[in-house]
Amino acid sequence: MVALDNAVTDSTAEEMRWPSPFAVMRRRALHHRGLLIGGAWLLLMILVAVLAPLIAPHDPYEQDLTARLIEPVWGMGGSWAHPLGTDALGRDYLSRIIFGARVSLIVGFGASFISGLIGVSLGLIGGYFGGRTDGFVMYLVNVKLALPGILVALSLVAMFGGSITALVIILGFLFWERYAVVTRSATQQIRRAEFVLAAQACGASRLRIIVGEILPNVLNQVIVVATLEMAIAILVEAALSFLGLGTQPPTPSWGLMVSEGRNFIFYKPYLIELPGAAIFLLVMAINMLGDGVRDVTAPEGRN
């Protein structure tokens, strides 16, 4: 009888076998245009940032006062010596944009990682323990929501300086509330699930249950939030640098480059258009990737 059962399953296994969840997700991912395009652009930008010294045609800090404000190659008097032209100090614009990817990506990854640690921890604690603990977590979230994020960020950056480390830490401590809210509600939904009760019955410690059972099951939602927060951190860094309180000259940061190009807005608009477009494309790619991850991991929640 057992042998017969095995024989039946074996013979039909080839056509009857259910694909594993991972295979389903991979197939969905490979058919999701937004995810592919967004992911490819982000990957390309990461490569550009990592390989910046190798691919940049010039030193991004090197000034050449005889070659100031040269238009890009498609503009008047542009040439392939400076494909995207030069800025007011004669620095090669393409090289500065290539190196600028480093600032945006470091701040984006760093800040969303720190805020993730804070927000996910608070969300897990609030969602799992409930009651007063949860009330306290929600109170912290409410306080955070009430504070005007950009003004607080500006004040902190004015005090602690606009180094990249300071920016990562400040933005990391400012944008954790969405992680906390999403993790909390996801945790509440699975807190009473059978596999959690089973772990409890086995005598697993609370820490082990939270980290080993609950965290892996809310991770998909956390990743979606992470992409969103990374995009926001990149936009805020650019805005702070644009206002002159973020990344300091001569470091090439896209927001700072837009600000430096502002004096030439009337007759050299490419100085503003190019770095702004770089921010826009990177942020859009990250958002598309995030939307794609959500569609692939939880298609039932899409609409």
Binding site: Y139, N142, V143, L145, A146, L147, P148, G149, I150, L151, V152, L154, S155, L156, A158, M159, F160, A231, L235, A238, A239, F242, L243, L245, G255, V258, R262, I265, F266, P269, I272, E273, G276, I279, F280, V283, M284, N287, M288, D291, N303
Partner: protein, 305 residues
């Protein structure tokens, strides 16, 4: 209902207290505010003098109680830079920020809700995809950059609109589009997903089966229910705009409280900065409280939960 309001009110009071403490101590975190005010090459005696003059040598909680007590009577202190009362400085400029916030939220809500309804009614059509693409654009575009591009196109190339100042309503067109477009996507997404949920509900099928006009079904039956979450979004967005207009105010040289906050942060004018941060936070808390009460009134499920 009374109990619901009471509970929400208690939370709001606690959050307000905490926010006022944070807003107050924010600029004091660096520890050497007196040093900053006295200048980089001040002698220790001068720093001590400055600290004493502004009461910065007292314990932090004494300073807070003093400031909060005065603030309750409407005295927010004086600007260190212009020596004007902070309340007057804010009063002079709040109008510009309020105008910008109201115009922007109207822009965002009208366009967002219209797009959301259209997209949901014609789900997966070209209109739907176009609306989604617009939302993706709005979320990703850096608003300082968008503002500058609008200046180049409409202010410089076409010369249709003024690019800075706040004298006439025309001055507000470009800033409103800039700010409104970046806060529009949530309105569109929320309306669209709300409408999609509702349009599949049984009572909508019943309404259709009765032979009501599609127009009546969509606007009278569906939108009424789908629009509930938009009430909260209005409050949250308005609160965000009050504190988040700093960048757009700076791009278009609009003299509102955002620009005032920015200038005051740069020159360490702490009485102004702490007043604006606390003011904006309180506005946010009040608005979301109001939205919760309106929602509970509109939807009994919330107040009984």
């Amino acid at each position: 209902m009374g109990q619901f309001i009471f509970r929400r009110l208690i939370i709001a009071v606690f959050v307000s207290l905490t926010v006022s403490v944070i807003g107050f101590s924010l600029l004091r975190l660096s520890g050497d505010l007196a040093h900053q005010l006295a200048g980089d090459d001040a002698r220790p005696a001068q720093v001590a003098d400055v600290a004493h003059r502004y009461g910065l040598d007292r314990p932090l909680y004494v300073q807070y109680v003093d400031w909060a007590g005065n603030a309750l009577t409407g005295n927010l202190g004086r600007s260190l830079f212009t020596n004007e009362p902070v309340s007057e400085l804010i009063g002079e400029r709040i109008g510009v920020t309020l105008k910008l916030a109201i115009f922007s939220i109207l822009f965002a809500a009208i366009i967002g809700v219209t797009l959301g309804v259209t997209a949901a009614v014609r789900a997966n059509s070209a209109i739907d995809r176009g609306a989604l693409a617009l939302a993706v654009f709005g979320q990703a575009i850096p608003n300082f950059w968008f503002g500058l591009i609008l200046i180049v196109v409409f202010g410089v190339t076409l010369q249709w609109l003024p690019i800075s100042g706040s004298d006439s309503l025309l001055n507000f067109v470009l800033p409103t589009v800039t700010l409104g477009f970046t806060v529009m996507p949530p309105f569109m997404r929320l309306t669209r997903s709300g409408m999609l949920d509702v349009l599949n509900a049984d009572y909508i099928r019943t309404a259709r089966a009765k032979g009501l006009l599609p127009h009546t079904v969509i606007f009278k039956h569906a939108l009424r229910n789908a629009i509930l979450p938009v009430v909260s979004l209005l409050a949250v967005t308005f609160g965000f705009l009050l504190g988040g207009s700093v960048i757009v105010e700076s791009v278009f040289a609009l003299n509102g409280i955002g620009l005032l906050a920015f200038q005051s942060i740069v020159r360490a004018d702490f009485p102004v900065v702490q007043a604006i941060i606390v003011f904006v936070s309180f506005a946010y808390i009040g608005l979301t409280l109001l939205a919760d009460i309106v929602n509970a009134w509109l939807d009994p499920r919330i107040r009984l939960a």
